[in-house]
């Protein structure tokens, strides 16, 4: 590992993830660079880094000086020269974001440990931060079985939503009869309101490559794909760059780090289909076909790409791997609670004061994430509910905010941990309208292969429309529930099976809103 160069006494880091770029971090960077040319004497270097977490205050700029770290949000162009010349100026106070607040203090970065610290477009910075050192360690000092042992001990479960134990999945693939194996990274993050994987891809792409390479070594694969949704152009560009750099530096390709392990990794870009996040649909799409799922078993672990064993893991799952192998599975398992080990990244949005990305140990309460870290609703009124798990999840009413955020607890309440999108629902959003919003999404995204999902979701949408328009009558809620159960029980894949969840969970916790809508119907 190259020793990291000594840090200058003062350094600026500007967030170049897509949230801040859209808020104008490009213009801020330009104005800082312009201001720097007009200053005699030394100016602090400005580095482009990944996500600095509090997307809602973007563009974000971190100032690491001899007197500590400051964070600025939405700094205007006129203030650029002032910031460079007089970092202590009181006038800058207006844009200062206090770092002592719970939003930052309660974060537990594992997956995002380098995110916001390294330039995502520079492999040198990634290497200086220690990326690929764990891969080298695995290749030179451990057997594939020992790597899998650590992952088993870590208790890591799939972060894409299903929560399947990662170690078990790796063992299943590794223990298939001898022959070729594949690895696939599922970066088709499609849940509306979820942007955790995008954060990793845009902020620290080399970490994902390292995790994927360790996974490939552990299961005996020598080729694989990263499947990214086309809606993430910046993530695609940075990953492409990172793949090229990794090949040039010998971290991908033949005989990695002087070992006998080689890995050929290709990027595949989706074309806008939510269902492709389902693993069998994803494999179909990688193979250039319509992204329709097929019945399982056989699972891709046995019968995947070209009929060969294929390991499919989500971005966040793979990005946790380098830390697990570096610090040991037991260390990772010491974080979290019960059956849910380690940390989880959540994207916090909706009617919440602090929009952004948080990484917390599993098992903390929903209240801690949404109210303590998120700061509650934007107008200060009590929140109404929190939606987790996207179109496959449900809503948790405000009265149950003390529920721990883990796989089991949220499922018991009729929602799910899901991939990590957390949308805060304020008092003004009617729950039947929210349920309709999700069902409409499922109607648009149903692939059309199986009848319950293709036709059932359309019927659900129409029933909800009748309720919303005040045309529903007696017995309509029961019929709605019955159809929900039927669609959930008989659909082919996860999309259809989970599509009714937003309706069922809002019926469970906010039935009075549906009843009020039905009662408003003239006889």
């Amino acid at each position: 590992m190259t020793p990291s160069p000594p840090r200058p006494p003062r350094e600026l880091r500007i967030c170049t993830a897509s949230g801040c770029l859209q808020a104008g971090s490009g213009a801020l960077q330009a104005s800082l660079e312009r201001a720097a040319t007009g200053i005699d004497g030394p100016v602090p270097p400005l580095r482009r880094v990944g996500c600095l977490r509090l997307c809602g205050r973007g563009p974000l700029l971190a100032d690491d000086g001899p007197r500590g770290r400051q964070l600025y949000g939405g700094l205007p162009e006129e203030a650029a020269a002032l910031l460079l010349e007089q970092p202590e100026a009181p006038a800058l106070e207006a844009w200062r974001v206090p770092l002592q607040q719970p939003f930052f203090q309660l974060q537990h970065p594992v997956v995002l440990e380098h995110c916001g610290r390294v330039d995502p477009e520079s492999i040198d910075e990634a290497l200086a931060a220690g990326t690929y050192a764990t891969l080298r360690q695995c290749l030179t000092a451990l057997t594939p079985g020992q790597v899998r042992e650590q992952v088993r001990r870590s208790g890591l479960r799939g972060r894409g939503g299903a929560g399947y134990p990662t170690g078990l999945k790796w063992d299943t693939v590794a223990l298939q009869p001898p022959g070729r194996r594949w690895v696939v990274c599922n970066a088709d993050e499609g849940d509306p309101g979820a942007f955790m994987d995008r954060t990793v891809l845009e902020s620290d792409p080399h970490r994902l490559i390292e995790g994927l390479a360790i996974a490939a070594f552990a299961v005996g694969a020598d080729r694989g794909f990263v499947y990214v949704r086309a809606e993430y152009p910046l993530a695609i560009a940075r990953l492409r760059l990172a793949l090229t750099a990794a090949r040039q530096h010998g971290w991908l390709g033949p005989a990695i780090a002087g070992s006998r392990f080689s890995l050929d990794l290709q990027l595949r870009v989706g074309a806008g289909a939510y269902v492709c996040g389902e693993e069998t649909a994803l494999l179909a799409s990688i193979s250039g076909r319509r992204g329709t799922p097929r019945p399982r078993p056989p699972y891709p672990a046995q019968h995947g790409l070209q009929g060969e064993p294929t390991l499919i893991n989500n971005v966040e799952t793979l990005a946790a791997i380098p830390a697990i192998l570096r610090q040991g599975g037991d260390w990772y398992a010491s974080i979290g609670s019960g059956e849910s080990r380690g940390t989880k990244v959540f994207s916090l949005s909706g009617d919440v004061r602090h929009t952004g990305v948080v990484e917390v140990p599993l098992g903390v309460s929903l209240r801690q994430v949404v109210e303590t870290m998120g700061g509650g609703s934007r107008d200060g009124r009590p929140i109404k509910a929190v939606q987790t798990g996207g179109p496959s999840g449900g809503c948790i009413p405000a009265a149950l905010l003390d529920t721990p955020v883990d796989y089991g607890s949220l499922r018991e309440l009729g929602s799910m941990l899901g991939s990590g999108g957390m949308v805060v629902i304020g008092q003004d959003t009617p729950m039947p309208a929210l349920a309709h919003h999700f069902i409409r999404f499922s109607v648009q995204e149903s692939c059309g292969k199986c009848l319950p999902c293709r036709a059932g979701t359309v019927q659900l949408q129409q029933m909800l429309e009748r309720i919303l328009q005040g045309e529903a009558g007696a017995g309509d809620l029961e019929r709605l529930e019955e159809l929900c159960r039927m669609v959930a029980a008989t659909s082919l894949c996860g999309l259809g099976q989970a599509a009714p969840s937003p309706v069922l969970s809002s019926l469970r916790w906010f039935r009075h809103e549906y009843e009020a809508a039905c009662a408003a119907t003239p006889p």
């Binding site: 897509s18 949230g19 859209q22 808020a23 997307c55 809602g56 973007g58 499609g190 509306p192 309101g193 979820a194 942007f195 995008r198 086309a230 809606e231 993430y232 595949r268 870009v269 989706g270 074309a271 806008g272 289909a273 939510y274 799409s285 990688i286 193979s287 250039g288 076909r289 319509r290 992204g291 994207s347 949005s349 909706g350 009617d351 929009t355 952004g356 939606q387 996207g390 999108g421 949308v423 805060v424 629902i425 304020g426 959003t429 309208a433 929210l434 919003h437 999700f438 999404f441 648009q444 692939c447």
Partner: protein
């Protein structure tokens, strides 16, 4: 798989064979419908000629032509030795592939959950009043990734956030400032181009 030579990849149907899809303005010059064979060959050299490469080839084709015309899909089918039905099946499956030429102006409204919670529905209602307009289309799209500025609109490729959705007149002014034309009078005769409105 036997790779076809570029000479084989001639389009097997000229644009004239295909009736113009309904709702497409015919007053403007038709955009290119097919790719010169040497350009297609360039794409195939980059993407490969396996059936696996189909989605990537279609991406590049759309980037070049603006949409995936039937003749162009025919070219691809021939070049990759795939049944035309398979190629059209894939092209029509994915939301991001356009089978019809795009309108000159586009307004996309993000319907991600965060934007929905922050009132994207009100923005759409206002836009439905204003557009149908000749040369404009209104699209409802999935999360645009600017959840912190929601509801967000993408008007001719420029992302604009936080319109005052609760204030009807303020929203109207905001939309005008953002470049969305005023609603046409309802009595105006509906020309053929007017149908190029809401897509979903």
């Amino acid at each position: 798989m036997a790779a076809l030579s570029p000479a084989d990849a001639e389009p097997h149907g000229s644009p004239a064979d295909v009736p113009a899809p309904p709702g497409v303005a015919t007053t403007e010059a038709l955009p290119e419908e097919t790719l010169p064979p040497e350009e297609l060959e360039g794409i195939l050299q980059r993407c490969g000629r396996d059936p696996d490469a189909l989605i990537e080839v279609l991406h590049q084709l759309q980037q070049r032509l603006g949409h995936l015309s039937r003749p162009a899909l025919g070219q691809v089918a021939l070049a990759l030795a795939l049944p035309p039905s398979h190629v059209l099946g894939v092209a029509s499956f994915y939301h991001l592939f356009r089978l019809q030429p795009p309108t000159p102006h586009r307004c996309a409204v993000c319907l991600g959950t965060a934007c929905f919670v922050r009132g994207a529905g009100l923005a759409i209602e206002a836009l439905r009043q204003r557009l149908p307009q000749p040369g404009w289309s209104l699209e409802e799209v999935g999360c645009l990734g600017a959840c912190s500025r929601g509801p967000v609109l993408q008007i001719d490729g420029v992302l604009q956030g936080d319109p005052p959705v609760a204030d009807r007149e303020g929203l109207a002014r905001w939309l005008s400032a953002a470049g969305v034309p005023q609603a046409v009078a309802l009595t105006a005769p509906a020309g053929p181009a007017l149908t190029a409105g809401a897509q979903r």
